[in-house]
């Protein structure tokens, strides 16, 4: 499969999943109903310092990198 085709498939799948998800939100979630969503453990990264550390460890020891952010520098990791 061509590289470009793979990327297109991923982007299209993401858009499809999100569109599907939006269909699930039949009822709008009002501000006063968002107490559970505002809980610390519902954050995508509840502990940013730990997330940065783990991400660096995996990045140093695996061939893959990247996720929910842009930027950051390299390292001479052995």
């Amino acid at each position: 499969m061509g590289e470009v085709m793979k990327y297109i498939i991923c982007v299209v799948t993401s858009v499809f999943l999100l569109t599907l998800s939006s269909g699930c939100a039949i009822k709008k979630v009002e501000a006063w109903e968002r107490g559970d969503l505002a809980r610390t453990e519902m954050a995508f990264e509840p502990d940013a310092q730990q997330a940065a550390y783990r991400s660096h460890v995996y990045f140093s020891k695996e061939a893959s990198s990247g996720g929910a952010s842009a930027g950051g520098g390299g390292c001479g990791c052995n």
Partner: protein, 407 residues
């Protein structure tokens, strides 16, 4: 500034924070809500990363097991609101590394053991290095959006990196959706040590990287939120490992990789709170693909269980599997036409499983955390069968302790 003004500003920040807790969405990065001003906090953590020894029987000519990497890491984070619409985050890191690292791989002299090549590690004294990293980020918060700029600098004995990033966050549809866009870049200098002892080793090289990122998060219902994002990175310059060698038809040559790499990542994350159990499920899936032929899948599942007394236990599990880079081989019977050669275990095909347990205890405005992780990589864990396992694959444990103070 008068005392009255100071109190008004403090009250205003508190109002913003309270409104954020009630109205905001979990943030794209960091634990703060997306477009609410960060509350003042200071976090310190210490992590001990320790790789398992390299067994004697996996090495060539070794008389005993060899101690691999140990890394001590200290991290300090300070978040400070600035006026009513800005916040500033500074991350500092200091770490020391020591131990031996895989150097090159040799074919097994026993023809019956050809699928088990042997590892040669870096010298007995191993590697000693320190890394210092500073990252500063300033955010400007608007009514339904925020913009951030960050600047980072990292230095080691043989490596320097300067990086910067810009990020924008927009809330849409009455905060039902959040869009994030970001770009970033880094400019790195590589100056390997001991070049007088190893004449083939490069003395000075450079590398640049530019990345772009787009994400969309959506509230599904009052207990569920999903985020999906794609990112693209282009690296240029010296992407080889200056310390590693490869065995090519009887000769040891420097690790040599292409001078460009394009990486694509698709990450989807789900957070769902279960009120009946007072717990939250974290489910992440990441697909990665690059033009070196590496394709990987990562699944990360965690459960955040609340107990009385402001105690939280978080067991989690992570599965990772990758295919090999197209030019990788444990060793080469003949040179490749493009002359690339790398026996780095990180470019080999394998899978990895990680088990983690974290505990968080809050006491007033303080939070204490303990964390433990056990990581094991193995060719048997790969999603596709692997003919020859790289002997350098790692197993490590990680212990972490941290303390936070909120103001």
């Amino acid at each position: 500034m008068s005392a009255g003004n100071g109190q008004k500003k403090k009250a205003s920040r508190t109002l913003i924070a309270l409104a954020g807790s009630a109205l905001g969405l979990p943030g794209i990065s960091g634990k703060a809500l997306a477009v609410t001003q960060g509350e003042a906090e200071v976090d310190y953590s210490y992590s001990l990363y320790q790789e398992e020894d390299m067994p004697r029987e996996k090495q060539s000519g070794a008389t005993s097991d060899t101690e691999r990497y140990t890394i001590d890491t200290h991290q300090l984070r300070v978040v400070r609101p600035w006026g009513d619409t800005y916040d500033l985050t500074v991350d500092l890191l200091y770490e020391t590394m020591s131990g031996a690292s895989p150097w090159y791989v040799l074919p097994n002299p026993d023809p019956n053991q050809s699928e088990k090549p042997l590892q040669v590690m870096s010298g007995a004294s191993g590697i000693e290095d320190t890394r210092k990293d500073v990252l500063a980020k300033v955010r400007k918060i608007y009514d339904d959006s925020a913009g951030a700029v960050s600047l980072g600098y990292s230095t080691e004995d043989d490596y320097t990196s300067v990086n910067m990033a810009l990020e924008g966050v927009w809330e849409l549809d009455d905060k039902q959706k959040t869009v994030t866009l970001g770009i970033g870049g880094s400019d790195d200098d590589i100056e390997p040590v001991d070049t007088h002892r190893f004449p083939g080793r490069v003395e000075h090289e450079t590398k640049t990287s530019i990345s772009a990122y787009a994400g969309l998060s959506m509230v599904i219902d009052a207990q569920t939120i999903v985020q999906s994002s794609v990112s693209f990175t282009r690296q240029n310059g010296f992407l080889s490992d200056p310390y590693k060698l490869a065995f090519v038809s009887g000769t040891l040559v420097q690790d040599s990789r292409p001078d460009g790499r394009e990486q694509f990542t698709w990450l989807t994350r789900l957070r769902r709170f279960f009120p009946e159990w007072l717990g939250a499920l974290h489910a992440d899936y990441r697909f990665y693909d690059d033009d070196w032929g590496v394709e990987s899948h990562t699944i990360d599942l965690g459960w955040h269980q609340n107990f009385s007394g402001q105690l939280q236990l978080i067991p989690s599990i992570r599965y990772y599997t990758q295919s090999q880079a197209y030019f990788y081989a444990p060793y080469y019977n003949a040179p490749r036409n493009d002359n690339f050669a790398s026996s780095d275990y990180r470019l080999s095909p394998y899978g990895a499983l990680s088990f983690r347990l974290d505990a968080v205890k809050k006491i007033g405005t303080w939070a204490f955390r303990l964390g433990w992780e056990m990581y094991d990589s193995d060719s048997d864990l790969a999603i596709k069968s692997v003919k020859v396992e790289n002997p350098g694959l790692i197993e490590f444990s990680n212990f972490r302790i941290s303390i936070s103070k909120y103001f």
